[in-house]
């Protein structure tokens, strides 16, 4: 639909790669407490003490306190098990929490044996993820994919998993293909994953392994009832990104929100922590066959959606690079963008079309995630309903893959049952009436839409060039320097600051993480 210079597109990708690669190298040189905890979760360690502090936190903290995490948690833990400090991981974590275990970094043959034992234990978790992926494929074959594109994505958020379940099932019956259980605000800044089924959350429900399991089981039932596989989404973001990704793989979630820079910019999480955690979580997602959703909509809600259009493209290109480097494939890249241009400016709809079309053209094989207006939803629900209709129309014309259903009561209340029903009627009407319009829609080469799209691509290339030219005194990769001086979202996030920095550890030469090894080798044992 859009004629862009192939050389320009190639150039944009190569610049994104140049900006991303040093950051990946930096990520490879570090581990984090959450990566190490995720490793233990793969080996089957779960549960929490009576104060709900997870055993993985206890064990990682104990190891770190005694011998550090520079060699990884696997070697000292499986060495302790081999020395008979405890009979299993949970007992070891319990004893370690009480200070009754002495850890050491095993050397020589001890290290080899500990590494082998660790690999065997962790491989069981990886195989569970593999099995879940096979199960998903089977269920999709049995029940089928949604009949239409884009897939209809609806959010459920009550705070109580037992309220979420009937709401999610009702939403699926009403036509939702993807259910996202939004997380409790603030979970992103917790440095542990809460445990068990939860009934208390603010503006969302905690992501826990048990909540994942309960919701997936309920949606499996509904998928059977509806003859359509209903996908489940949660958030692999914040300080526990690797662990939540792991739990998602183990419990067969189908999509995860997972952005390369969102936590840095909008949650003030340390940049290095984010990039390390993100790489591990994306390796898990790749293995688990999970589709990631990136968060470019956020750039548009915090800045002007016309002026910042190119930052979305740049972020999509970076997200694509980081995702592919971690092993994700095109079909797994739900790159985000949003309908957030001020509706009072002239040609706002044409601008939206141009931006959406650019994303579609740059990433032809990715199931783009199209997000509805929020910033210019004023509380006038009638006007909001119309705006959502136009949003749906852009989604239909430009062939988006995943359409997050906009609510006319955005900025008023968390959606009521009737809001959701009306919103779905809106989507269905537009898709039914204009779903095939992409066939007829060929904006002229020198018309407003194509010209604008090319302009945004040009600005994106210029911004990437700017990023690559950036530098700072400590010699950080240019992308980190750019993040530090406020290139994105006008937020300054230096690599030496931010939440979770104390959980970042530089790897020592003998570092071992069998989970990363298994993921990178594609091995099962």
């Amino acid at each position: 639909m859009l004629e862009v210079d192939k050389a320009e597109v190639k150039r944009a990708r190569s610049l994104a790669r140049k900006a991303g690669r040093p950051v990946v190298n930096l990520a490879k040189r570090h581990t984090t407490v959450s990566v190490e905890r995720a490793t233990l979760r793969l080996a089957g360690l779960s549960g929490a003490d009576h104060e709900l502090v997870p055993w993985v936190n206890h064990l990682v903290d104990a190891v770190r306190g005694q011998v550090g995490l520079e060699s990884g948690v696997a070697l000292p833990v499986w060495d302790a098990l081999r020395r008979g400090e405890a009979s299993d991981l949970t007992t070891l974590a319990q004893k370690a929490a009480a200070g009754a275990v002495t850890f050491r970094i095993p050397q020589g043959a001890d290290a080899t044996r500990a590494g082998k034992a660790a690999r065997a234990a962790i491989a069981r978790g990886i195989r569970t993820i593999d099995k879940q992926r096979v199960t998903r494929d089977k269920l999709i074959a049995r029940h089928g994919d949604p009949k239409q594109k884009p897939w209809i994505y609806l959010i459920v958020a009550t705070g109580d998993i037992y309220e979420d379940i009937p709401q999610a099932q009702a939403a699926a019956r009403e036509g939702a293909d993807v259910i996202a259980v939004i997380r409790s605000t603030g979970q992103s800044l917790l440095d542990f994953v809460p445990e068990g089924a939860t009934r208390e959350g603010y503006a969302g429900t905690y992501a826990t392994q048990e909540n994942f399991r309960l919701m997936r089981a309920a949606l499996d039932q509904t998928s059977k009832e509806l003859g359509r596989y209903v996908r489940l989404t949660n958030y692999a973001s914040g300080l526990c990104m690797p662990e939540i990704a792991t739990l998602a793989g183990l419990e067969r979630l189908d999509m995860m929100l997972n952005d390369s820079m969102y936590g840095i910019l909008f949650r003030d999480i340390n940049p290095i922590r984010t990039f390390v955690d993100q790489r591990f979580s994306r390796q898990i997602h790749a293995r688990a066959g999970i589709i990631i959703n990136t968060g470019e909509d956020n750039y548009l809600t915090t800045a002007d959606a016309v002026e910042a259009a190119h930052t979305v493209t740049v972020s999509q290109l970076l997200n694509e690079y980081f995702a592919k480097e971690a092993g994700l494939q095109d079909w797994q890249l739900g790159l985000g963008h949003a309908f957030e241009i001020d509706p009072s400016i002239p040609d706002s709809f044409r601008l939206e079309l141009a931006h959406a079309l650019l994303a579609r053209t740059l990433f032809p094989d990715a199931p783009l995630k199209w997000m509805p207006p929020t910033k210019h939803m004023t509380g006038d629900i009638f006007r909001g309903y119309l705006l959502d209709g136009f949003f749906n129309l852009v989604g239909a014309i430009t062939g988006q893959g995943i359409l997050l259903v906009g609510m006319m009561t955005e900025a008023v209340v968390t959606p009521w049952i009737s809001d959701r029903d009306l919103a779905l009627q809106n989507v269905r009407y537009v898709l039914n009436a204009a779903g095939g319009l992409s066939e007829d829609f060929h904006p002229p080469r020198d018309g407003f839409i194509q010209t604008r799209a090319r302009e945004v691509l040009g600005e994106s290339i210029a911004l990437l060039e700017n990023i690559l030219a950036d530098s700072d005194a400590s010699g950080d990769p240019p992308l980190l320097a750019a993040i530090a001086d406020g290139t994105f979202g006008a937020m300054r996030r230096p690599a030496s600051k931010g939440k979770g920095l104390d959980g970042v550890i530089r790897k020592a030469p003998g570092y071992l993480n069998p989970a990363t090894d298994l993921l990178e080798e594609g091995a099962t044992r």
Binding site: E174, S184, G186, L189, G379
Partner: protein
């Protein structure tokens, strides 16, 4: 308007029932003092409501919707739309005249207690009477990650065509962003010698905005000596006007507040030439 309703309006004007306020009492032009909703004829009282009942869609559900509308004071209630939402719920749209009237003389409103100033007047007032920059620290506290509110007020870009506080030459604005913990905010206010602290609470559930606000004001009163606490201002769509004292803050701003209003208010509250300047700078020692 249907003939029935036009007739109804006429009847109420000319021949009100006992206890029913005659539409003749309400002047047909001008504003009040007795008002009722306006559809297309003065005094017709027309409203629209929509709601969902937890009933399957059938005659009984429709009857229930009409009865509910009656109890809400809508009579006659015109059920214009009913649609099943799944097997257990029905959505209704009801139109009709409400029998209630409002006497606007009995409404208590918080009149704006300060004069609206232009940005130039704000700057001049600060320069002239405070003789230094007025320091404003803003943040979203607690778990609220939605900076739209605070950004609309503080960022240069502003809101509703008005530039944000960062635009004012005589205001030193520090926007701490989202998910700032209360201790962080108190420390920042202390270090920056804040004259005013602006806190935004947009997304809230189970009264989180109220809990956060009282916790915040308590923390400030604990950390600062009496009389030296920065001026505490909270904003957000869910706050009630007039609840500032019970929350322990100095002022609350609701939905639709513009940066210019906040700036004018700050001048009114902090640089009024008739109030003596506070001498809380000693604490920096």
């Amino acid at each position: 308007m249907s003939p029935t309703r036009a007739h109804e309006a006429r009847r109420r004007r000319e021949n009100p029932r006992t206890g029913e306020l005659s539409l003749a009492e309400a002047p047909s032009t001008g504003h009040g003092p007795i008002v009722r909703p306006y559809g297309d004829t003065t005094g017709d009282g027309m409203v629209q409501v929509s709601f969902t009942l937890p009933l399957p869609h059938d005659k009984r559900a429709e009857g229930a919707a009409i009865r509910l509308a009656h109890q809400m004071g809508i009579e006659p209630a015109l059920l214009v739309h009913a649609k099943a939402i799944g097997p257990d719920f029905t959505f209704f749209v009801v139109y009709g005249p409400v029998k209630h009237v409002v006497d606007i003389r009995a409404i208590d409103i918080v009149e704006r207690e300060f004069e609206l100033l232009s940005s130039k007047e704000v700057n001049t007032a600060i320069r002239k009477h405070l003789r230094r920059k007025l320091v404003v620290v803003g943040a979203c506290i607690g778990t609220d990650a939605h900076t739209v509110g605070i950004d609309a007020i503080l960022n240069i870009k502003g809101f509703a065509g008005e530039k944000g506080l960062e635009y004012y030459r005589e205001l030193a604005v520090h926007n701490l962003g989202a998910q700032v913990s209360i201790p962080e905010l108190v420390n920042a206010a202390y270090d920056l010698k804040a004259d005013a602290v602006l806190v935004s609470q947009v997304v809230t559930q189970k009264d989180a905005h109220l809990h956060n606000t009282t916790a915040m004001s308590a923390a400030f009163r604990e950390a600062f000596p009496a009389g030296q606490v920065p001026h505490l201002v909270v904003g957000g769509p869910r706050f009630e006007e007039g609840s500032a004292p019970s929350l322990g803050v100095d002022r609350i701003f609701g939905r639709g507040t513009t940066p210019g209003e906040v700036a004018s208010y700050l001048v009114h509250a902090l640089v009024d030439p008739t109030t003596p300047q506070r001498t809380r700078k000693a604490k920096s020692a």
